[in-house]
Symmetry: C2
DNA sequence: CTCTGAAGATATGTATACATTAAAGTCCAG
DNA sequence: CTGGACTTTAATGTATACATATCTTCAGAG
């Protein structure tokens, strides 16, 4: 149970704290990295001592970081027992994605009003990258572009609270993306998936400053993602 | 600066931890109580040592609790400086209420589908209380009924993430309700305000299981609250 | 008088020792 | 066997001592 090594692949790319950040922040991002990197499975407990040792810290900052992650809903906690990865279920996935649809829809609509031209250009560059059939993008590349796209729109909404919720529900929903990924590893040409086209259409609506359209297209895109996942996840029960 | 006494009036009704709860939980609810009770003004810092002394704890559980409150957006934090009450502004209020409108609207719509008959009856009883012109309700009573109503609907939405966001944005928006309250203390007959009637109509929609109507009525209600506050808050700038 | 900077005060950040408790294991009686 | 109470164990919960960074203050140079 838990993680025995500190090596970090892909997402979990932090082994030492940056100059500016303190141990609490380092622990937070490191642990979140481990979670997003799927190093634990639902129901697994994250032990303070074990994490502290593997990160080379004392329990204090680790405990603080775990508290944050619980407060933000990435982890759950049993009193005097510990923090653990939330169980996944079809019902939970439905709750997460229904909410994400609304929240991100709202963010896209708001971004149509508040995003600067430079910000929209940035989003456009992301779409260009992921749409190019010449590039051979790794799964990780795709994940990172997708993250930059969704969190970018969240930021460009100009509403700090909305951005906060977007980030949260995005990461929470990604638990299901990763979960799915673990069970169905295939080689896919991502440029042929529906995602890039849907992203492109959202950006087009942003360029036209059409908030209603941007919101609806984003909602459609999120629902489309959910349905794609759910088709493959019937076994969750 | 900060709070010098431990006495608790109105909201801040906790001086000793309950049997079941540990010091971290006690500190959390106690500090939240102090915040909601308006013991601090925007920009005030909450010192760990001071809080620990006044609550009769060590800094450890207090610090943990402050971390939670920051993670949940009740407080902001400057590194190596401390936690402080977020500043208020017209722009911030607008962001908060626009979001609250969407979030609580969604919750009401969801509750129309998922709330049990008992839960709807509970909401109805709250409306009855606040609508009764015979009762002389204190400001505190009204605040508590209002809280029970809004957080009740959040819970009855059946979506734990949505409930989480509702709680958060509700409390955040209440900063403005309290702020306003501090500047404009008047004696008002609450049963004559628009609020009880708007609450009643939301409940009626829930009874009819009309999700769209429930959502729209709630959105309207939240916007109405905002507009009422904003009329009085032009001076915020 | 103002600006600069160095020293002191104060609050946060971290490690560690110890207390507590939930749960797993163990032993014995039925 | 089986069940229940005791023991052990391994984790969290808490207090405290110390490290560190930031703000304040005050002195001295320009």
């Amino acid at each position: 149970m838990g993680c025995n090594d500190t090596r970090s692949q892909s997402f979990a790319g932090k082994e030492t704290p940056m100059a500016t950040e303190n141990f609490e922040e380092f622990a937070y991002t490191a642990i979140l990295g481990l979670i997003l990197d799927n190093r634990f499975k639902p129901g697994d407990f994250l032990f303070e001592t074990e994490l502290a040792n593997s990160l080379g810290l004392s329990r204090t900052p680790v405990r603080h970081a775990l508290g944050q992650l619980v407060a933000e809903g990435f982890l759950e906690k049993k009193k005097k027992k510990g923090c653990y990865i939330p169980e996944v279920s079809a019902r939970d996935a439905q709750q997460v994605f229904v909410l994400r649809e609304t929240i991100e829809g709202m963010a896209a609509a708001s971004a149509a009003r508040w995003a600067t031209e430079e910000e929209i250009a940035f989003l456009k560059s992301l779409v260009t990258k992921e749409s190019n059939p010449d590039n051979t993008l790794s799964k990780l590349d795709v994940l990172e572009i997708n993250q930059a796209f969704h969190l970018g729109i969240a930021r460009f909404s100009g509403n700090r609270y909305l951005e906060h919720y977007c980030r949260h529900i995005f990461w929470r929903s990604n638990v299901y993306v990763f979960f799915y990924d673990n069970y169905y590893r295939e080689n896919i040409d991502y440029s042929k998936l529906k995602t890039p086209g849907q992203h492109a259409r959202v950006v087009a609506a942003l360029e036209n400053r059409n908030d209603e359209k941007a919101g609806n297209l984003m909602k459609f895109h999120v629902r489309s993602t959910y349905e794609m996942l759910f088709m493959k996840m019937q076994h969750l029960g």
